[in-house]
Symmetry: C2
Subunit: 409 residues, 2 copies
Amino acid sequence: MKAALLTVGTEILFGQVVNTNAAYLSEQLNRLGIDVMYHYTVGDNPARMKDMISLAFTDCDLLITTGGLGPTEDDLTKEMVCEVLGDELVLDDETMESLKEYERQRGRKITQNNYKQAWVPSKGIVFANTAGTAPGFAIETDGKTAICLPGPPRELKNMFEGKVKPYLESVSGACIFYRQIRCFGLGESELETRLLPLIDGQTDPTLATYAKEGECAVRVASKRATREEAVKAVDDMTVKVKELVGDFIYSCDDEDMPQVVCTKLKEKGLTLSSAETCTGGLFAKTVTDIPGISCVFEKGYVVYSDRSKAEELGADMSIIQKYGIVSEEAALELVKGLEKKAGSDICIASTGMAGPGGGSDACPVGLIYVALAYRGKYYTKKAMANHSRREVVRHSAVLHMLDLINKNI
Amino acid sequence: MKAALLTVGTEILFGQVVNTNAAYLSEQLNRLGIDVMYHYTVGDNPARMKDMISLAFTDCDLLITTGGLGPTEDDLTKEMVCEVLGDELVLDDETMESLKEYERQRGRKITQNNYKQAWVPSKGIVFANTAGTAPGFAIETDGKTAICLPGPPRELKNMFEGKVKPYLESVSGACIFYRQIRCFGLGESELETRLLPLIDGQTDPTLATYAKEGECAVRVASKRATREEAVKAVDDMTVKVKELVGDFIYSCDDEDMPQVVCTKLKEKGLTLSSAETCTGGLFAKTVTDIPGISCVFEKGYVVYSDRSKAEELGADMSIIQKYGIVSEEAALELVKGLEKKAGSDICIASTGMAGPGGGSDACPVGLIYVALAYRGKYYTKKAMANHSRREVVRHSAVLHMLDLINKNI
């Protein structure tokens, strides 16, 4: 199946909004085995919108639009789709009722222009919007399918996950199941090399490797007649992947590293404190991005100035001066000081050269040391960020802190 | 002038990369008074690329492409542009020399496929790439202009800023100067209302308001015969804008709030420490995103657990229990404790309800208190984030912390 994506919205053409919807849908469609051939973006202009819809169907079977389904005058996506595919809009009672209910819950009456959202193509399958008001729909004529979805990313994702994915699976007559296996500590090319025996000649399940920021992932996907068969094929392949790269896998459910580590700490009832230098609070920020983490995370120290390292954590400055702040010894000094002060079950510290300035041959930008104190034992790790950009080094250091915890609790 | 943007790259169609180039170029072109009508994205496929280039010129005078200029076999953008505009590629000696020099500096010899990058359209104006290897170019035939730029964002921005902008200005025979004035503490609609006397009926300079995350901005732009005239027109209008909304302006040079505050602290030789609760390290992280800030930022405390607030900062828990942690009194307790412990010139603390859970009528999600200690005086501020999403509340709290510093030093 070949697909085109049409994003409708003047704000995209003004550069005020980055088109993340197109990236999201592309990734989702590729996972479903649908090839995305084109992205188009037009403003809220009916003639240009119609041209783009016609153009998309000249060599694609599927068009997915986002945006232009709202209540205002310039929301015209469904009108133009109907014109091109030869359909007309009819009032959908169910949508009407849910619009009324939506406004009722907010203590408001439905306004005239809100009614506009209850009109849908007569031949369309309606996708109710559980995260907003404008419904989406799919309409198929002569082998050409148009799917129209709302523009706000949260509504779009919600509708795609809950309604569009099952619809596309039902249309293709096959069930697709996939799993994202996330790895840390090896590069994408090494991951691919190790998995080559599984990748070569494999048609189903398929394996594909991806590089993410500072980490990598392998996606195992299967397309079978039933969901059960697809799940079983992916499960079997997952066992084989684990045999080859199990040491590097931290999640088989596409959870990110902070989520995995924090869930583990919650389940084990362990408390956590941190001492940071070059990451400057990024570790604490990353952990506290997760709601409800206050039962785990107790306190964080950002000891940025030299003075503060000794003052706050009682670090022995003679050791730090002897080995340099970016050293295993300094990381250990920090974590031991933290352990005494915070007394949390898990104490984690890091030090590194985030750059851009200050690097040397002995201590290049990107060099990182992390140290962990847990149950009277100390663990350390030396690492090198795979890029010297400041934000990459800092992000990488946080991942190494989390990884050291994950591997040792 | 009407423009279309063509992004070339299979990685965009796979959803592995978000198309930030299109957003960047759209914003830049709009600032130059050029209307962007379409965004197109295609993979590294010559036939589809050619179709899109032809399509763009059916109702636009300007096409800007990004990507597909590199050394590999599937980099075909310039070949396709030449086919559509009836030109041919010729070897550019200057580019050849700079490619050799680039490789020489890295201790490498130029490879066969690298030569490919030195071929440019015979009628083209070459834009040297000072951040990478592939040059860009502009080519004009029968009133249709194609500008081809490299795909890596850093190379693209560099080339646009240094070469393409002056080129577009010279082509249009007019000079455009604009200024982004950034405001904090009022919403976009209020900003627009206050500026209406200046916006209404104004043709040059133009004023446009924008909402950014937790803040807003007004762009003043002028298009005149000479740069001097344009600068003067924008300067004069800036004075009028300041008269109407001066209290809310924190930058007239499009610098962000952390940059503005940290530059001020550096210039004044002031040191800074922070105590955070709901922001969980985001303030320290934001400040230390800036390279070379160690002369300003001394230390940061993330006092996440109740116990740590008393232990670390000596906060009087009876006060916190009486008024609640999200209160002016609690914020003051934290900043006074921080002042005693850190002794930095500037001490800043915040407390708030970041959600998603835990909100109540008395203390809703989004409520924020910030407190500042400076030269023996204390300053506090109560604020409400304009959205209840956890990340929005946390970001907003950090902006209020920076704003309180900015207004009182």
